[in-house]
């Protein structure tokens, strides 16, 4: 029997106005992890949606175990043994773990559900996968990582031959990612083929056997494990060469004045004695595990959460920030990690979003908004930040992730914010656009802005930050100059859970 599990050839799919996939091909062997990479919009998700029966292909063939199959609905895909774990969490929060795993396949007796059999089946499955969770627990009580484990268990409960994972680690910490990788290793041994979609280049070498690259809906090429070389992959993805830039040093900014000084900040839930300084023209990175309290520091500073006993100085003057509007009045802009929920009005046009925080500047005493002046300003930002949009009246939803992020940045720049707090600035943004965001951050600090950047990606932190604050368990465990920092050192500080301090 051939070792080939899945072969896909000549797949094309178009939507009104867009050719999403053009003659795409790839192969997957038994017990293999194939990474599918490409920028956002390269067609990875469309391709996977065709495999899982959500979209119907226009052209092309899919062979499973050498037999051509016709996948016309999610049910058919499941029956064929193709399971997908979607990028967005797809669980019913108010149901239990067991109810989620077997949704649509509940054991029944006539009209009635057999809840006990359901829980037993779920328990057996979780035990088999080595996932230690109570099947009767409500999903809403689980952490994001554990919910991800439930998703995986659900996908595997179909006795999947082919398991598709769409960015499974985007919400996981490093430790949790390791657990996932162990699980994938186990799957490989049982002959399951895994298609793995990720933006994280460092993961590819870790777990994949082959990498297939897509660009603009077309097949670009496949690299074997031995050939895996991250700059090559990135070049194939973006179709151009990306240069690695030098890391910044703390020495550059050592003599700049302090624009933001935080002393002894606490919150009831988590933060203890947070103190640090941010200098003009500096990018101050915040590193740490998920749940270490990095986002909470930002939220406490801008007054989104209640803090206790802390003192905040801006440009040397003590200030009281009780709510986010106070923070904005003092020139602090916060860019949430969840742009779509907290940063943008997705259904509105670019112009509205750019001007949202500074609308008052374009409003006269009678409350009339002077749109011409505002639109001029928006156009300037679209040009200076190189926001790729057909016009400022395009709906924000239709922009790519990277360009949406730039719209949020433009919003705060229009409001004259000098201190910008970026929470995971490149989450969900593809490699090419990441570079643009990095360049933009560097341009901003060169122009005298100061930036706090919270990031879970250590290469990103090291690449951009002049200094790095490391947090663990609600405390700052270390503040490092970039020239003294490396990944191992940061991880060391990030895993110090006790009271030990070494500053």
């Amino acid at each position: 029997m051939s070792n080939q599990l899945l072969r896909v050839t000549g797949i094309s799919k178009s939507f009104p106005g867009v050719q999403a996939l053009k003659d795409v091909q790839f192969e997957l062997d038994r017990g293999e992890v194939l990474a599918l990479v490409g920028e956002n919009g390269a067609g990875k998700s469309s391709l996977m949606k065709i495999l899982s029966g959500i979209y119907i292909k226009d052209e092309g063939s899919i062979f499973l175990d050498g037999v051509e199959v016709d996948i016309d609905s999610p049910k058919t895909a499941q029956a064929l043994g193709i399971s997908i774990i979607h990028q967005e969490m797809n669980l019913m929060a108010h149901l239990t773990i067991a109810q989620n795993i077997f949704i649509g396949r509940e054991p029944r007796e006539g009209l009635f559900l057999r809840e006990r059999a359901l829980n037993r089946k779920a328990d057996e499955l979780l035990k088999r996968l080595g996932i230690n969770l109570d099947p009767k627990a409500l999903v809403e009580t689980l952490t994001v990582a554990k919910q991800q484990m439930v998703e995986i268990a659900k996908a595997l409960s179909f006795d999947a031959k082919v398991l598709i994972m769409d960015e499974p680690t985007s919400a996981l910490t490093d430790v949790e990612t390791e657990t996932l990788f162990t699980l994938i290793e186990g799957l490989k041994r049982t002959g399951t083929g895994v298609i793995y979609i990720s933006h994280r280049m460092d993961e590819l070498r870790r777990i994949t056997d082959r990498v297939t690259v897509l660009r603009d809906g077309e097949y670009i090429g496949t690299l074997q494990k031995e050939q895996l070389d991250i700059p090559t992959i990135i070049e194939m993805m973006v179709g151009r060469h990306i240069e690695e830039s030098a890391r910044p040093t703390a020495r550059d900014r050592a003599n700049n004045e302090v624009v933001l000084k935080v002393e002894g900040l606490n919150t009831r839930q988590l933060l203890k004695d947070i103190s640090f300084e941010l200098k003009r023209g500096e990018i101050l990175g915040f590193a740490g595990m998920m749940g270490a309290g990095r986002t909470e520091v930002a939220r406490a500073i801008i007054g989104a959460d209640l803090s206790e006993g802390g003192r905040v100085h801006i440009n040397g003057k003590p200030v009281k920030i009780k709510r986010p509007s106070d923070a904005v009045a003092h020139g602090i802009g916060y860019l949430s990690e969840d742009r779509k929920a907290y940063g943008l009005l997705l259904e509105q046009d670019v112009n509205t979003n750019v001007l949202l925080a500074s609308l008052r500047d374009y409003t006269d005493a009678l409350g009339f908004v002077h749109t011409m002046k505002g639109k001029q300003k928006s156009r300037e930002y679209v040009a200076s930040l190189r926001i790729k949009t057909p016009s400022i009246s395009a709906t924000t939803k239709n922009l790519s992730g990277g360009n949406q992020q730039k719209v949020v940045i433009a919003k705060w720049l229009a409001r004259d914010c000098d201190i910008l707090i970026f929470d995971e600035p490149t989450r969900g943004i593809d490699v090419g656009a990441k570079e643009e965001i990095y360049k933009l951050l560097n341009d901003l600090v060169a122009a005298g802005k100061s930036i706090i950047m919270i990031s879970s990606e250590l290469p990103e932190v090291l690449r951009l930050s002049h200094r790095i604050v490391v947090m663990a368990n609600g405390r700052i465990t270390g503040i490092l100059d970039n020239e003294d920092a490396n990944q191992a050192k940061i991880m060391d500080y990030a895993t110090r859970m006790g009271d030990e301090k070494d500053l």
Partner: protein, 339 residues
């Protein structure tokens, strides 16, 4: 789900099954229900002291009788609201079902059982149309059922010729609400309790109930799991419509007439009862016991105010405030759950 920041220390694999958090969320649900129950007790005690006429058997039995109609409507609506939808057509839908029962029994002189089943199916048909409009034509539930509310209201008036239809000629019809299968317990109340048990079983023991919660939690995820959510939504709205139909028959029997002008306002009382009972307007959460308690709170309140001789105008104000408080508690609960 991705959006919520995880604030606790996560240890995967080493796995604690988080007994503490699921225990607190369980407790919270209990508190919500006992809160509604405590409110009911407080109201009962308060009105008993406020008026000597309140805690009399005839009044209590009157309260239960009026709870029957709101309660039956609320039971059906509970399913709809748990899916994250809403049904505004239950009040006038009930009226239309009562009028149709009148047409079947009085004008067409059909046998009692046939007329009653006809009335119930009228409700079911309206529910089915609601479900079709929402699931297949993808109209927002609010708009689809608002339209149905007006359609039912208009049809009830047209079909009846804007005159009440009296059931005095129909032998045994009145007994559906006012007779006694169990001595001392009016049949309308018995019907409410039987339907409540039925609704409880449907919601917690059958596929219908499971998918009601699933759709309310995350409709897209449910659909992608291979569940035909469109079909189930139609089923759920049809079930709600059938409950509306029963309410129509019961109110007709209780008044011994079909009053075509009646009905508006009932939908809001029923929805309020559901919300007071702890069912979330955002979907995914709710219980039949809660709805029953909520319905009792509504009718005790209305009855108590009436018995204290408070003007109808002021009664409306009080009910409005109660609805505000109930929705606010719901919002508060959501916020706490989110943080």
């Amino acid at each position: 789900m991705n959006a919520t920041p995880v604030t606790d220390q996560t240890r995967v694999g080493g796995g604690t099954p988080e007994p503490r958090r699921s225990a607190t969320s369980f407790l919270r649900a209990q508190i919500q229900q006992s809160l509604a129950f405590a409110t009911l007790v407080v109201l009962l005690v308060f009105f008993s002291f406020a008026s000597s006429n309140f805690f009399t058997w005839s009044n209590i039995s009157g309260i239960l009788l009026s709870t029957a109609v709101i309660g039956i409507l609320a039971l059906g609506t509970t399913f709809v609201i748990i899916t994250g939808g809403i049904d505004l057509s239950i009040g006038t839908g009930m009226t239309l079902a009562a009028v149709m029962t009148g047409i079947f029994l009085v004008n067409l002189e059909l046998p009692l059982m046939v007329g009653v089943i006809g009335g119930i199916l009228t409700g079911g048909l309206m529910g089915f149309i609601n479900g079709f409009n929402i699931a297949i034509l993808r109209l927002p539930p609010f708009i689809a059922t608002l339209a149905m509310m007006l359609i039912a209201q208009g049809l009830a008036l047209v079909i009846s010729g804007v005159r009440p239809i009296y059931f005095s000629s129909v032998v045994g019809f009145k007994d559906i609400a006012l007779g006694f299968v169990i001595p001392g317990l009016p049949n309308a109340v018995l019907i409410l309790f039987v339907l409540a048990i039925l609704a409880y079983v449907l919601l917690s023991k059958t596929l219908l109930g499971r998918y009601t919660f699933a759709i309310g939690s995350n409709e897209e995820a449910t659909r992608l799991s291979g569940v035909d959510t469109r079909k189930w939504k139609i089923v759920i709205y049809t079930v709600a419509g059938l409950f509306t139909g029963v309410a129509g028959v019961v109110i007709g029997a209780r008044l011994d007439s079909a009053q075509p002008q009646l009905g508006t306002g009932y939908e809001l009382q029923a929805i309020a009862a559901v919300i007071i009972g702890g069912t979330s307007l955002l979907g995914g959460r709710g219980s039949i016991l809660g709805t029953l308690i909520g319905a009792l709170i509504m009718s005790v309140l209305i009855n108590g105010l009436r018995i204290m001789s408070i003007q109808t105008e002021w009664q409306n104000v009080v009910i409005g405030v109660v609805i505000l408080i109930a929705v606010f508690t719901d919002a508060l609960r959501q916020r706490r759950a989110a943080s």
